[in-house]
Symmetry: C2
Subunit: 434 residues, 2 copies
């Protein structure tokens, strides 16, 4: 396939009147349009105003999608234990499937091509199957909770680990490596030391399996961990093996100097979730400090009950604006830095190689946007536009691994109407009041 | 016209399966659909998923629209004096008209039905004419700068005031009162005492003319005012007559206790501009304190060079999220409070009576949104949806004073393609580098 338009190769390179040629799952050529047309005259053609690498949602809860808007204006632990966990506990396999499909649908429609997805304790198979069917690239994991969990979610430590291992064997690396596994203890508050140490053992036992958990999102959370373990949260995670290049820690809002050193020294990846941190009033992550230390910082929307959308453009905008106002520094997180977070840094955090740039030999994970709209007029700078003014609604084309998932604004891998209708039906029966 | 759908009457009342009946410029009935259909069987009909009061952009610079994205990552005074003012100074009448049309087009498309518009020093007629033609409700004013202004914008005090008076006589109250005048000194830094006192005199001389200016947005700004006048900014404005129920002060980020007392005692209106305050790293306005004191707080997008869009839904979301994270208080500015700011409070600040609710006898300023989209699925609470997940792209219908401006997603009062094309053409010739 030969796609033409203005091509954003990476945060530094833009090709006007350019083209991208895709064969199988790879980009085979990127350059100016006329040269590409000459070299590949027989390829199927399509055209979009702007072509860019697909974005990476590096911390998301697709299976919370049925709970969009159920718990506005509440703090993290109340939000979690009174609303979101009871909802997760109540979901049947069918409902979990519907929730995951709704989440992936929203991501595909709005330009997310890769996600790191924190599922739930039960029915993780449903999300894996939905991700396979809908074609998104994902690092997914079943949640483990063997301590401090509401009825219906609390598990035996061994069960949590053995179910995780079953899922690794079943799904890790399927679809040509498009779907991969992340061991997913919920957070230190809800997991025993045995569970956390078991997580590290399993991660080491299977090649390229990663670890994904929440860390230091909220002050009550870090206090609880400190009371229970006598250590600051990241120190504790480090002690039980939950740091390293194969670990993605979501949030990391409340870390001290010594914890930041650990993150940097161990090469641990951090996912910044600005909208979620704002809406749950968690705080502002010290993103500039992380970047200064060379930590890979990715970007995530978190879940629909705390965002309330999965739009990656809203998140890019928020990422920059929140740092600017928090530091009273208008130069903070400029557009190119945010764009890197949302693309190639996210892919690195998720452990996907050659994903996140539009470059020869890289994976064909692409999006096409329209810019013949008022919000994009005039268009002085495409990166500025993408970060500060674009919106998921502008995305008209989505491709993962060379497969077209959305074309001309229509998702082609699933019946979007049907997914929404099923989600509405299940959501109407949810018992979400605390 | 009989419009049916879920009707948001105000921040507290939602009618499912409802209808709104419009005759001339007024809402003549609001209620359940079947009753309305029975009572008004011969009215032209239309249907949208969600009907709501149009939003009020209570601080905007439509004529800066050609500068969308020209000065990202800069602080207020640099942003203003190195980029935005030179751009404003350079605009011809034709370019000013194109910029205003682009701004109003974006507002109409995304659901803003009333604006308080801070124009520029020259060619204000062009914006008034554009507002008349495009049908938006507006409180507009020519900017006055008789001190501290770049070449091309600096005016004589008398000229600034007499030109303002000419515009009042020409446009204040035209279109059945849809267009009204606000005397618009830029800010205390750029206006002499004579200009500010003259502003108050003129406002008192003409019935229902208001005053609109920037105040205490930035720390450098308030320091400058304090150096020059020996007073905190709001004290100074109060002394020269720029407080009161007929005054709208944009921003008010850096006010102390005594200034807040003045704002409350004088009934001065405040416009909160969260995205602009974040992007320019100005700071966080003490909105809760203002609300606690009974101050009318409205909401504004400010201009495209500092936002970078005029989407009122982005601004509502931002309004709440910024307060939550700043106060580390998840209950801060819940959806209904924000919705009131963006509708009826904005109308009150702008001095338009019976605007901002969907209520019998009130002005027919309405918007219709679609919710059969993934981002609105499921839809547990329509107000939560509007504030936290909706977007200007969802707006398919816009009516002001009973006149349809947009229907089925198409603006009917202007040629949107042509406005965008003209804006692109002029923007390409802008000399915006400092």
């Amino acid at each position: 396939m030969l796609l033409s338009g203005t091509v954003i190769v990476d945060a530094e390179t833009v090709i006007h009147d350019g083209a991208v040629v895709v064969a199988d799952d790879r980009i085979v050529a990127v350059g100016d349009r006329s040269t590409c047309l000459e070299r590949y005259p027989d390829h199927e053609r399509d055209e979009y105003d702007l072509l860019a690498p697909g974005t990476v949602g590096a911390h998301v809860h697709s299976v919370q999608s049925l709970g969009r808007g159920i718990a506005d204006d509440t703090a993290l632990l109340e939000w979690l234990f009174d609303y979101v966990l009871p909802m997760e506990a109540s979901l049947s396999a069918e409902e979990m499937r519907a929730a995951a499909e709704l989440g992936y649908l929203e991501m595909i429609e709005s330009g997310t091509t890769t996600c790191i997805d924190h599922l739930s304790v039960h029915h993780a198979d449903e999300a894996f199957e939905a991700a396979r069917d809908l074609g998104i690239r994902g690092r997914l994991g079943k949640v483990m909770m063997d301590k401090e969990a509401p009825p219906g979610l609390l598990e035996d430590t061994d069960d949590a680990l053995s179910e995780s291992e079953r899922l690794i064997r079943r799904y890790h690396g399927v679809e040509g490596g498009r779907i991969r596994y992340a061991l997913t203890p919920r957070f230190a508050v809800s997991c025993t030391e045995a569970c956390l140490r078991g997580t590290r053992e399993l991660a080491d036992a299977y090649e390229s399996v990663m670890i994904h958990t929440h860390a230091s999102e909220n002050r009550d959370e870090i206090e609880t961990v400190e009371e229970e373990t006598g250590r600051r949260n990241v120190h504790w995670l480090n002690e039980v093996g939950l740091t390293g290049e194969d670990v993605v820690l979501a949030h990391c809002v409340w870390t001290d100097e010594t914890e930041r050193e650990i993150l940097a020294e161990t090469g641990t990846n951090v996912t910044y979730c600005p909208s979620s941190n704002m809406k749950l009033a968690s705080g502002v992550a010290p993103v500039h400090d992380y970047l200064d230390r060379g930590i890979t910082v990715a970007l995530g929307n978190d879940g629909p009950p705390c965002n309330n959308t999965l739009d990656p453009f809203t998140e890019m905008r928020q990422a920059s604006l929140l740092q600017k106002v928090d530091r009273l520094e208008p130069q903070a997180l400029p557009a190119p830095t945010v764009f890197e977070m949302a693309t190639v840094n996210g892919a690195r955090a998720a452990g996907f190689d050659r994903v996140g740039n539009v470059r020869e030999g890289w994976k064909a994970d692409l999006i096409g946007l329209e810019t013949d709209i008022t919000r994009a007029t005039p268009l002085h700078d495409v990166l500025s536009h993408l970060v500060f003014a674009a919106h998921g609604d502008d995305v008209r084309f989505t491709m993962v691994d060379g497969e077209v998932l959305q074309r001309d604004g229509e998702v082609v891998v699933a019946d979007a109407e049907e997914i929404r209708a099923r989600a509405r039906e299940f959501a109407a029966d949810l018992d979400v009041a605390p």
